[in-house]
Amino acid sequence: MTKTFRKLFLVILTLSLVGVFAAAEFNVGVVFATGGLGDRSFNDSVFEGLTRAKEELDITLDYVEPSSIAEFEGHERAFAQSGIYDLIVCLGFDQAESLKKVAGEYPNQKFVLIDAAISVPNVASIVFKDYEKAFLVGALAAQLTTDTRNFRQMNAQNRIGIVGGMEIPLIKTFVAGYTAGAKYVEPKTDVSVAYVGGWSDPAKAKEQALLMYQRGVDIVFQAAGGSGLGVFKAARQVNKYAIGADSNQNYIEPNNILFSAVRRLGNVVVDQINSAMNGTWEGGDFCYGLKEEAMGYDTTENSFTIPEEYILKIEEIRAKIISGEIVVPSTLEEVDAFLKNAK
């Protein structure tokens, strides 16, 4: 009942908008992922981009925050049905199935889907080369781990670690990029790898990170979602270092988190809006990486200053990845071959 009512309300609202704005502006509709706004991660980073676009590009913005996967289809259809949106942005791989259906019903409607590739002509579906980001993270960590001068708790050993949530392809690409990046700048680097086996078990992740720190690892990169909070706890307990993931997590333990690997989803969404506005928009599957400025690292909101020399080195590597001089391996099997060629 409330759902139908909501839909009806949305239709009336959008119809009235048509009357007022008479399609003079560019209208964007957004269906957020179930995590919702305020997650300081996925949804918020998109919202940041949309707010920027709203100020700079003169667009109107309507959005919904579904709380379950079952709601996606209804919201997508309601936006498409109204016919006034120039672009509808859908977030999260959970929307892939429903969007496939809705996009087929409205072939003239432009959609953007983040985090899944569905190969539909009127949907720009975007996935990310997370291994390129992990490469930079590994390269930076491998340099920092022997810097006993600027970082008091570092030891001189070339040991770094990564704690992944589960041993699935996505996380393995992280591990591959991280390992390759670390060994690219310092071949002696030893990378410890552990998988928690779940995304919400911080107690176990903490224990695994503690084991790494005991073995002389100074820096642990978390790629374990909610479990990753345990890695930060371990870092604080033994006063060692950690690296955040997805969004800027530095504020969680500002004295232990050196920096965070981030996805700049805001940039991606602004790009999409831009291209749709000036008529260069295209549907299909896209894979974004460093070149598209879709990802990077964030060193703000903590108590550290990363020395300039390392940043310069990383920026040099970033330039090489963008120019194609470095092709980052996305599987562990490719890492050895990559390192051999790099010499």
Partner: protein, 317 residues
């Protein structure tokens, strides 16, 4: 000779392994007491996961509100007890199926903590950091080489587990109260015929068990992480159920079983770092559980009347 060994890599690894085993085992052991008490009185308790989650949450809430983690422990005991009372009322008063009620308790625990997390702290993922309960170095004893390092620098929750184990064993096997409780789990009608208030014992045992499970949750949230994060119990409640069976519903047995589960995860975590295939090692605790549940390891003898409804009016027909 000993001093030489103590500084070797092997000693380092073994000490690390054992301390890690104790840390992983403590929440399991505490939660397993929950099932022991409840099932000794004839009520199946599959709700440990939910009880632990609620205990973990309210432990953090108590510490957050008062700044004192021990108030948090009291909160977790109360929360576990109240949740278990729901199980007791449903199974004893309304004669609901014990297994279904336990599963419902788990779902309730998950839901209620997720909702309160947003309602109280406006965050879907985690609570803020609160004052936690940290390992205690027992004066004198903690200086003993190896033994001191392993056993006397542990979290207070570990000492609580050992204390509860000893007291429970004494109560179960050396007191009138314990004898009656165990008898109720075997044959409530016989106990009732002696004029003993069977239901009073049942309610008390289930609620007390819930308090221990809540304590197990607080051990995770206050003892390990000083915060609550969503679904942080992550299946430990189910492992605790398995530990109860492996430990043959005996307070000492369940602690030993929990230590075994703790050991398998400690070994798993260590092997991972040496590059062993993780799927295999992650499977270990679950294989042990299946073997135990299948009765391959030892003959399990659950209380005979566990899961059966007792009604006084049926007794004297």
């Amino acid at each position: 000779m000993l001093e030489q060994w103590l500084t070797s890599d092997a000693a380092y690894i073994i000490i690390g392994l054992i301390s890690s085993m104790l840390r992983m085992a403590t929440p399991l052991g505490l939660a397993a007491f929950g099932a022991v008490y409840s099932e000794r009185a004839g009520v199946v308790n599959l709700g440990l996961e939910g009880l632990m989650l609620v205990g973990a949450f309210f432990g953090v809430l108590g510490s957050f509100l008062t700044g004192n983690p021990w108030t948090g422990v009291v909160f977790s005991l109360i929360a576990g007890g109240v949740m278990a009372l729901i199980l007791a009322i449903f199974t004893l008063k309304f004669k609901a199926n014990h297994v279904v009620s336990g599963v419902a308790l788990n779902l309730l625990g998950q839901g209620i903590t997720a909702v309160l997390l947003v309602a109280i702290w406006g965050n879907r993922g985690k609570s803020p950091d609160v004052a936690g309960i940290y390992p205690v170095y027992i004066p004198g004893l903690s200086d003993i080489p190896v033994i001191g390092e392993i056993f006397f620098r542990q979290s207070p929750f570990f000492y609580m587990m050992i204390a509860i184990m000893i007291i429970s064993w004494f109560v179960f096997y050396r007191t009138k109260w314990g004898l009656r409780l165990r008898a109720i789990g075997e044959n409530p009608a016989a106990v009732d015929s002696l004029g003993i208030q069977v239901f009073v014992y049942k309610y008390l045992a289930v609620v007390l068990g819930g308090m221990f499970a809540g304590l197990g949750g607080a051990c995770l949230s206050l003892g390990e992480l000083s915060m609550f994060s969503r679904n942080m119990v992550s299946g430990r409640g189910y492992i605790a159920v398995a530990a109860t069976i492996l430990g043959n519903w005996n307070p000492v047995g369940v602690v030993l079983a929990s230590l075994l589960f703790g050991l398998t995860s400690a070994i798993e975590m260590n092997l991972q770092l040496y590059g062993w295939p993780t799927q295999f090692v992650q499977m270990l605790p679950y294989i042990v559980t299946i073997l135990v549940l299948g009765g391959f390891v030892r003959k399990v003898s659950p209380p005979k009347a566990v899961g059966k409804h007792f009604d006084r009016s049926d007794t004297y027909v």
